[in-house]
């Protein structure tokens, strides 16, 4: 029996669920003029214990996460939506309504903060091999040392080259910080809010290059064109330096939701 409530998101306007042919089991529950888009799900899948078990099944997780995002994106095309964390389950309609009652002020604040905006994710990676090849162009210290090496006797040049190997490592670390900050600052100016995510290690990203920035930007829809063209400009400009800009969006503002209980609640 499907009697638990899975919440995808809430919207401040009546959602048109007939637009979703693939997700024909969606429903909404209205309370205080707030519309929660939900689906009734079974305890076999989503009770606390069973959800924990299912989370370790990658096929299950993948399909449910994609569905979560698809439904939210569908709703996002119609209205401003506040997305819920993946796998948010209420026991009953009464509990969901109690949540909306307790959090109404905060939800309204969130709606006004995110109205007309979307989330764009930016991940910057550094290919250290490519960066190393450009080091004399990008680092004055490396270029100066190279010049010194060229002008030195073979013996001195050998020692200076060893010195340069250490210098290059430090300079690459410094350049990663400089470029990461530059990208962050550039996108920050085009957005209304920013959020820094954890840098993901290489065994998670399964990439050869190293992640140096994992950020989310809340961008006004009217600024998205500028945001995208800035990505393209930076790619053209820095393409050979070993810095890779990966951008995805538009996402519902997952990283910009701050839900608090009403102030007057105990």
């Amino acid at each position: 029996m499907n009697d638990l409530i899975y919440v995808y998101c809430i919207s401040n306007r009546l959602p048109d669920l007939s637009l979703s042919k693939e997700h024909n089991d969606l429903k909404y529950i209205m309370h205080n003029n707030i519309f929660a888009v939900i689906k009734y799900v079974s305890e076999n899948e989503f009770s606390d214990e069973n959800l924990k078990k299912n989370l370790s099944d990658m096929d299950w997780l993948e399909s449910r996460v994609r569905e979560h995002i698809e439904v939210i994106n569908l709703l996002m095309e119609q209205n401003t939506v506040i997305p819920f964390n993946f796998g948010s389950i209420f026991q009953s309609e009464i509990n969901l309504k109690k949540f909306i009652t307790d959090y109404t002020d905060s939800l309204i604040e969130n709606f006004s903060h995110i109205e007309g905006k979307e989330e764009w994710a930016v991940k910057i990676y550094c290919n250290r091999k490519a960066l190393c090849e450009q080091i004399d162009e990008l680092s004055e210290d490396a270029a100066a040392l190279e010049k010194q090496i060229m002008a030195s006797s073979p013996g001195k040049a050998f020692l200076l080259k060893r010195k340069k190997t250490d210098l290059i490592e430090n300079e690459m670390d410094r350049l990663c910080k400089v470029f990461g900050q530059k990208y962050y600052d550039t996108f920050r100016l085009l957005s209304d809010a920013t959020y820094l995510n954890n840098i993901l290690p290489q065994d998670v990203t399964e990439r050869d290059d190293t992640m140096i920035l994992n950020a989310a930007f809340l961008v006004k829809k009217t600024n998205v064109g500028d945001f995208k063209s800035t990505v393209e400009d930076l790619r053209k400009k820095d393409g050979n330096s070993g810095f890779v800009i990966e951008t995805t969006g538009p996402w519902a503002p997952f990283s910009f939701i701050n839900s608090k209980k009403n102030h007057n609640e105990p």
């Binding site: 095309e77 997305p83 065994d203 995805t248 969006g249």
Partner: protein, 69 residues
Amino acid sequence: MNHNVVDQSKDITILELLDRVLNKGVILTGDIVISVADIDLVYLGVKLMLCSVETMEQLKLGKSVPEKL
């Protein structure tokens, strides 16, 4: 609806999706909720690695709306 965006989204990886939906958005706590997916992406990363390449390729064929620029 912007179908064009949907068409461009096929190469969004599961990693990118998880990075958006885990511990983000409205995060429920307390006794009104019976469960919340409480998982860490870095921990999951280890599991992701255990998936065969084949499975990962299949996973990538799914759909989602955002595009990859």
